[in-house]
Amino acid sequence: MNKEFFEIIRPGIHTTIQDQGRLNKYHIGIPFSGSMDQRNYLISNQLLGNNLNESSLEFAYQGPLIKLNSGKLTGVITGNVTFNIIRKNSKVDKGICYQTFEINDGDQLDIISTNRSVYGYFSIKNGFKGDYIWGSCSVNTKAKIGSNNGEKFSKDQKIYINKSENLSNQKKVNYFNSKIEYIRVLKGTNYNYFSEKSKKIFFSKEFTISKLTDRMGMRLEGNKIENILETNIRSEGLIKGVIQVPPDGNPIIMLSDHGTIGGYPKIAVVISADYDRLVQIPPGSKIKFKPVELIEAENLYKLYKIETENILKKII
């Protein structure tokens, strides 16, 4: 058994092992899962020269406090995160995101919070030890699959690592997590189920992100969307970013761990280019939707993808 691990002193609110996610299993009820904010996840692994699908630790709001039990290794944290490295001799180094750091046996990493955002990523050279099923070690707490028996980490558990390695050169990148003014969407397949007034409200008024938001879905409040045709449809497939409106009129956006089948009408779908930034908007914030056409959405995604690739290229 591998003896190199981090010991969990405080687990944080929702700390899980994630990678790029799982493909081709919707038809048996298994969603993508994977890192919510793929761009920040990819940057963290690129900074370490890891395989871009390496296992990372994803945390939300408050991260974990963990103590290293292994040889020296290099790690990095991405996102908008406040953290400290508490050295074995009690000296505290203030952590800087997007910049690799060295951590030694007995050092503690205290990930205090994700600021005005939701998710952050802690990656290490060679990754954490993941349990793989259908090509991914991502945790799916609903189906209890992936690493750690499909559960989030809890106190006193150990997070095993693949192989401690310290990189001689420090790597960093300047990256700013931009905010988006509007969440851009394409009209959904049931757009015409809703009243004219509600359609106007949907594209003009602000919605508040509810506290009941998690990796499965983002619940919205503030304006009820009125259905004039039928509040239930025959259950059918769902994808990431679909905005469903249940009978109570409060929209729900499907996120990475969503149920694969749903029976509520779909008013809209978030464009692929805006997904990473959408998931980072914390509960209590207000968001607004803006309609775009398919061709525009495709071009926006191309731009987003090129931008991501340019950031990754800069790191090499």
């Binding site: 009820g29 769902l238 149920g259 464009i271 959405a297």
Partner: protein, 224 residues
């Protein structure tokens, strides 16, 4: 056959096979699903069949809606892709400990509990689709006399193994989950088995399911 194709967001194709739900339409959906799987088109990330729809999601950095639709239209649908359908017997215990809504069903449908059970068990149900949660089968069609709407307020937690009915359909909760179906009983068997990576689900679309009644003792014996 596909009646209409449209986009669902910028990274999925939405194939509509019509508004009705019946075995024939659903078998068409399943046939497309299997053929598309075999065609192995680059960029497709998921294919989700349901009663009368097929949703194909794809990686927008590899292919786009227009190009994928062209490819889908060109695919020859092999009529003889065998469905390899099985008949599966599933034990169900209808003890009051598990039959959370039998009383509600009886009152709302105005028939006694015994009649409900007799209408439900030992009938062949067709599996239309699986999903929502891992491995959950959507089965049908129920006899006319036991069709009822969902609960007005869904349960926050439906116990694992619960068998639920609503309208003409029946399902099995493969995990504890929120849900609004009328719970008629519970099965002790594992419908989703993650340790069997190549074949994790016991019930596949196209299969036929037949419930047989077991006692509480037998339930706990099978559950061990």
């Amino acid at each position: 056959m596909i009646k209409n194709i449209s986009n669902l967001g910028d990274a999925a194709v939405y194939c509509d096979f019509g508004s009705e739900i019946n075995k024939e339409i659903n078998l068409n959906v399943i046939k497309y699903f299997r053929n598309l799987h075999q065609a192995n088109i680059k960029g497709i990330t998921n294919i989700t069949p349901s009663y009368n729809k097929l949703i194909i999601s794809f990686d927008l950095s590899i292919i786009n809606f227009e190009k994928l639709v062209e490819k889908i239209k060109k695919i020859k649908i092999d009529e003889i892709v065998s469905l390899d359908s099985k008949i599966i017997k599933i034990p169900i215990c209808i003890d009051e400990e598990f039959s959370l809504d039998l009383d509600r069903l009886s009152k709302k449908l105005k028939i006694n509990e015994k009649e409900i059970i007799n209408s439900f068990i030992n009938k062949n149900y067709f599996c239309y689709m699986t999903g929502f949660i891992a491995g959950m089968p959507f089965l049908g069609d129920l006899e006319n006399n036991i069709r009822l709407q969902r609960l007005e307020t869904p349960r926050v937690k439906v116990p694992k193994g619960s068998v639920g009915i609503t309208e003409q359909f029946c399902n099995i909760y493969t995990f504890e989950s929120p849900g609004g179906w009328n719970i008629i009983g519970s099965t002790p068997i594992e419908v989703f088995d993650k340790s069997n990576e190549n074949n994790p689900i016991k019930i596949n679309p196209g299969d036929t399911i037949n419930f047989y009644k077991i006692s509480k003792d037998e339930y706990f014996k099978l559950n061990e």
